[in-house]
Amino acid sequence: MLHAMNADQKIKKYVKVAITLTVITFVELAVVKFHFLPAVLITLLVVGLSLFKAYTVAWHFMHLNHERGWTRAVALLPLGMVVYAGVLLADQKFRPISDYVGEPDRVAHGTFEAEHSTKHEENKEAHAGATEDPMIETAGEVHTSEPTANQESHDVAPSPEKSPEKTPEASGSGGSGADSQWK
């Protein structure tokens, strides 16, 4: 494509585009690093600049500026995801917190850690031998054993069979025991 320009002219244009992209990236890094703007403005600015960068790459490097008809339309289809994202994010932002199953439970345990650290020993004794939720037991173990072992090689410290149990637990629906490990 770009039949009107010879190779050197094209390359000059590409280099200009690349310099633009690089400068924008430096601006973004500077804004984030030295945050001399309110946080909301930083987010808006950085996201806006990045979307502009993405558009620039598609327009100039992927030659969308030279495509016609449905090729351009196909390339723009993923923008539909922006609408989808808007709906889901708005739902999450504006739906009352109590509508979420399990949410009050997690909020109630927001201070669990402080509570946990004082009652830890007696809890452990109380739980020993009883038919308790295994989550709480393991959380107790990890809590005591990890901090020191963790420093050196934390990826071996918690035994691997615990992790899969933790993942669904931590993602929301309640068990305060697991939360204490991660918080």
């Binding site: 690349a18 100039h60 016609r68 351009r72 994202a85 889901l88 994010l89 934390h154 931590a170």
Partner: protein, 220 residues
């Protein structure tokens, strides 16, 4: 469309079927079948990435104690990685321009630089992962001694999204190496660089996605 197909299938043997010859215009403009196919693939891949990033945003919005990513991940390495990908995108389009000008040496040189850029990106990602895995977090554990409030979802989403992108970079490098081999064999000497351009589309897409991943997972 018939003309387009013919151009596409026998262009290697026939120098006169170069890109200067105007193609028949159809609903996809003058784009070749290969290019349209790549765009459709990239469209679906973009939705996959969009889904991952949207999942990340929703997870982040509901997870207490989410950190400022830059404080955990640092911006130095990822900033350089961004720079490298942008540069490799430029060398990719330059390679195409050289190829269309029937400059085999230029095509090979810039394709090779592009591949090196991709490999450099992967090398830096391995370095970054090595650091994170040893000092900060794995996909299922957190170094609680140093990051007592870091939610595991941060580690999980970070590794899932960035490794998925890294796999795209790896695929792109392999793809470009194949194109490089064909360039060395003189397959693009007639100036028809459609295959180079299609591979370039994939490569620029990987760059484009990284720009967004970098923004949402490192910067904000």
């Amino acid at each position: 469309m018939a003309t387009t197909t013919a151009d596409h299938s026998h262009h290697h043997g026939t120098p006169e079927a170069g890109p200067k010859k105007p193609r028949e215009v159809d609903i996809f403009g003058r784009a070749t079948h290969g290019k349209v196919g790549m765009w459709i693939y990239l469209c679906t891949d973009a939705m996959t990435f969009a889904g991952l990033l949207l999942g990340y945003a929703l997870l982040r919005g509901r997870t207490p104690n989410w950190p400022v990513p830059a404080n955990i991940l640092g911006l130095e390495i990822s900033g350089i990685m961004t720079f490298i990908l942008i540069l490799s995108s430029v060398t990719m389009v330059i390679a195409q321009a050289k190829g269309e000008a029937r400059d085999r040496k230029g095509l090979i040189t810039y394709l090779a630089i592009t591949c090196v850029g991709g490999l450099a990106f992967l090398g830096m990602q391995v370095y970054e992962y090595h650091h994170l895995l040893n000092h900060v977090m794995t996909i299922s554990t957190i170094n609680l001694a140093q990051y007592p409030t870091l939610p595991p979802q941060f580690a999980q989403s970070f590794f899932v999204v960035t490794s998925f992108h890294g796999l795209h970079v790896l695929s792109g490098v392999i793809y470009l190496l194949i194109i490089l081999g064909r360039a060395v064999a003189g397959k693009f000497d007639d100036g028809n660089c459609n295959h180079v351009e299609v591979a370039g589309l994939f490569w620029h897409f990987v760059d484009l996605v990284w720009i967004l991943v970098f923004t949402f997972m490192y910067l904000v």
